[in-house]
Amino acid sequence: MTTVTNQSKAHSGLGTEQLLSMYRQMVTIRLFEEQVNELYTRALMPGLAHLYIGEEAVAVGICAALHRDDYITSTHRGHGHCLAKGAAPDRMFAELLGKEAGYCRGKGGSMHIADPTSGNLGANAIVGGSMGIAAGAAFSAKNLGTKRVAVCFFGEGALGQGLLYEVMNLARLWDLPVIYVCENNLYNEYTHFSETTAGDILARPAAFGIPAESVDGQDVRAVYATARRLVDAARSGKGPAFLLCNTYRYRGHHVGDVNREYYRPKQEEQRWMTERDPIKLFGDWLIGQNLANKAQFDEILLQVKSEIEAAVEFGIKAAYPGTDQVEENIYA
């Protein structure tokens, strides 16, 4: 059976500690996002928030294959990428609430978390806006011989942006170590991707001679195993790759998108949540392999809960930047 092959492949190279750490990261992202939703509904969080719930296995599986100093670019739905790459929940919440202790001193907000210490070049609120930046980071890595790799996360909605095809052409011509990770959560905002996407997605990178694969984005081990292979190839000089991760956005396009039945049925959401939940699938597998037990998961949940609660409190209590800072950081 193919699943068995995949499991043994994914298992190899990852110790129990790493597997549990990935599980914990997925739980962290889930609880982080639930808190974002909570803060937003309680009117404590201003602005926009696009939740990553349901897609956790993608960010965690990909980032587990990266070094801390490898680069990522993220999207408006980026909290999961930032956390998986190593951002701390407390400074994330501080940023989401516009506080000076946040990653961007409150100037970026939910859609613009950036953190040089974890290689995060920044989340981007222009759909497809960071595709060149990721290729540029890979260009630096190649020219400076740093052996770093850049991962560009983007949703399937960004497949409509021309920049992707310009930079895939360049990345192939110059063999840049960049991985284009397309998270297909099925919806471009409020529109099913089948209404916006002509032809076969993987044929697009293939046309540039870029190795292109798809993977079950709800299976963190499969995401990791594939990412690991593509990242290693990029790091060894083989150039770019494209990875299509098939996943699902449990919540609306943003937290305010509550009544969704005009564009997708409730049953579809239920089916993904009960049958294809990435945390449950991974947890069941870990138990099935005798690598973890229910008690450990309960403890992880408790620890993460308290970490997230403390992070939220940190964010709420943190000070706003003084208005004297409004003109700081326009120029370096």
């Binding site: 946040g102 961007c104 970026g108 920044g122 930046i133 540029g136 980071a137 310009e166 950081n329 370096a332």
Partner: protein
């Protein structure tokens, strides 16, 4: 005192010399653009650079302005200092998201965590019979955006010193060269020098009227000033050299001294550089002005191909002279 040697060189040669010197000084500096390597661009400004620095630093790109500009933004954030070449300034439209939403905002949005030390070289200026999509002067667009700096050299000396400053700046800088001025000659010292941004240069001193001019319009203004001298009007010609940062103080002081000001720029008048500078002068020198500040820019039309039509759209010595004469109430 070391002897200062001065040579005559063209504006294009001055830009090339600045790039070459900076590339020798700093291995992180590289050039990306269409036909920049062996071709040295259609204007031949970059001729010879690929021979000295090789194809890993002078890099021919596909015709993908957004793509290679985006790559430059990311490369600048991660350790290189790229100079991107936009063959015709009209093509900056294709790079606008990368420059305006990305390059200009990365430093601010990240709370100062990331920097984007890159230069975009682009051209401006009509008069080359190139039609509406190869002749525009769109520098006002970038001047409008916080996070960007905009440079408009008017002489070979300024071009060299300002280009070196642009490359050493830790911010995205757009450097507009008038394509009709690449063969314009002027003195350039052999010794190392840079010119700071935000410092206007008084190209000619005068007492009766201030003419603020940018890029190729500086020569137009100087020509008008000579004509004005013939009828007894002493014009001061000032080149801000950078539209942002803008040396407001020098412009205001000159207008206070002369009590009259004309602003000449090859961009469109409406919502343009002339509007901003006129506003700075009108506000800063209000009580010393004898007349409203006059603006002279390109006519508000797409640049036409036909010679007499195209020439009619560009400010000329004669239009500046007539405007100054009218303001000074001389017949």
């Amino acid at each position: 005192m070391p002897e200062v040697t001065v040579r005559e060189m063209t504006l294009g040669e001055a830009v090339r010399e600045a790039l070459a010197e900076e590339m020798r000084r700093d291995p992180r500096v590289c050039i990306l653009g269409e036909d920049v390597a062996e071709a040295g661009t259609p204007f031949k400004v970059l001729s010879g650079l690929v021979q000295e620095f090789g194809k890993t630093r002078v890099i021919d790109t596909p015709i993908s302005e957004a793509g290679f500009t985006g790559i430059a933004v990311g490369a600048a954030m991660t350790g290189l200092r790229p100079v991107v070449d936009i063959m015709f300034g009209d093509f900056i439209t294709l790079t606008m998201d990368q420059m305006v939403n990305q390059a200009a905002k990365v430093h601010y949005m990240s709370g100062g965590a990331w920097k984007v030390p890159m230069v975009m070289r682009a051209t401006l200026g009509a008069g080359r019979r190139s039609g509406a999509q190869h002749s525009q002067s769109l520098h006002a667009w970038f001047s409008h955006i916080p996070g960007l700096k905009v440079v408009l050299p008017s002489t070979p000396y300024d071009a060299k010193g300002l280009m070196k400053t642009a490359i050493r700046d830790d911010n995205p800088v757009i450097f507009f060269e008038d394509k009709m001025m690449f063969t314009f000659k002027g003195p350039v010292p052999t010794e190392e020098y840079t010119i700071p941004f935000g410092v206007a240069d008084i190209k000619r001193e005068g007492d009766d009227i201030t003419i603020v001019a940018t890029s190729s319009m500086v020569q137009v203004a100087l020509g008008a000033a000579s004509l004005l001298e013939g009828i007894g009007i002493s014009a001061e010609v000032i080149d801000p050299r950078t539209t942002w940062p803008l040396d407001e103080k020098t412009l205001i002081e000159s207008a206070k001294k002369t009590s009259r000001a004309i602003v000449v720029d090859e961009g469109y008048e409406r919502y343009g550089v002339t509007a901003e500078i006129a506003s700075v002068i009108a506000t800063g020198a209000f009580y010393d002005l004898d007349a409203p500040v006059k603006r002279i820019g390109a006519m508000h039309v797409p640049i036409p191909f036909s010679s007499p039509l195209e020439d009619a759209t560009i400010p000329s010595e004669h239009t500046v002279f007539e405007a100054a004469r009218a303001m000074c109430k001389r017949s």
